[in-house]
């Protein structure tokens, strides 16, 4: 498998794994730092740099992974949309601005209505 192509296609999932690994390492470092001293003043920086940064990276990893899933789903809907247009089950977008044209809804371009007949 072409590693460059794979990385380009799956950059978000690779990034998600890197964030999760980084988050786990940060949590471990934070734990080791906190458990290494009884002085609360020395423990506080580890809570931030280890605990909170670790949580942040874990959340970022989850964001990247879930957004990759959503993008995949969007692309599948693209394929279905194209197939419906090609098989004449969905009118191609027209320039006249009929109901086929996609209206804006909350700033998001929404799809055309279709009747699967």
């Amino acid at each position: 498998m072409d590693i460059v192509k794979y990385t380009r296609n799956q950059w978000d999932r690779i990034g998600a794994w890197l964030c999760v690994i980084g988050g786990a390492v940060a949590l471990l470092v934070g734990y080791l730092g906190v458990s290494d001293t009884l002085n609360t003043g020395e423990q506080m920086p580890y809570i931030v740099s280890g605990g909170m940064v670790g949580l942040f990276l874990l959340g970022l990893g989850a964001l990247l992974w879930l957004s990759a899933d959503l993008r995949d789903e969007w692309r599948k809907l693209d394929a279905i949309d194209r197939h419906l247009v090609e098989t004449n089950r969905l009118p191609a977008p027209s320039a006249e601005g009929s109901d086929v044209a996609s209206p804006e809804r909350n700033g998001q371009v929404v799809p055309r209505e279709v009747s699967l007949r």
């Binding site: 920086p45 809570i47 931030v48 700033g107 998001q108 929404v110 799809p111 209505e113 007949r117």
Partner: protein, 155 residues
């Protein structure tokens, strides 16, 4: 990346504004965490560190809220698009049934089909050679009831 999405449809579930909001909130989170670390590591007095811990915690919550908003917006956009593509299958099937002259309550099938359906079932929409018959007639022809529209069931 080439634009493989259909004309008139956004290339991704998110608008540029939603991406910008996420980026801003993530930057706020990173900035808060950096400030929190710098503040707590600059002193050993817990009373002074608590403020920075609070700041870092608030920044973490803000960035978490951004993540949740972003994912929710994407999920909502996909839901709207799916509804637009598949939401009116039933209406389409009913219109097709009426166009063929079959009454809405009839049980129908086609010669090439192995199951019989209600006339407004989407599985017979657009099928050629659809004929109506009683349930017994379809059963005698070796057809079984559709598992989706349940022609032998209630209503």
């Amino acid at each position: 990346m080439s634009a493989t999405h259909p004309v008139g449809v956004a290339p991704s579930p998110w608008t540029a504004g939603q991406r910008l909001v996420l980026a801003v909130l993530l930057v706020v989170g990173v900035g808060g965490l950096l400030a929190g670390y710098t503040g707590t590591s600059g002193t050993l007095r817990v009373g002074h560190q608590v403020v920075w811990i609070d700041l870092a915690g608030a920044a973490l919550l803000v960035s978490g809220a951004g993540v949740i908003l972003f994912l929710t917006a994407g999920r909502r956009a996909i839901g709207q698009r799916r509804l637009g593509l598949f939401g009116n299958v039933v209406e389409g099937g009913a219109a097709a049934a009426l166009a063929t002259g079959v009454a809405a309550g009839d049980l129908v099938s086609a010669p090439t089909m192995t199951k019989y359906h209600r006339a407004d079932c989407s599985f017979v929409a657009g099928k050629a050679g659809v004929v109506a018959a009683s349930a017994a007639g379809h059963e005698q022809a070796g057809r079984r009831p559709c598992g989706v529209c349940l022609p032998g069931g209630d209503a």
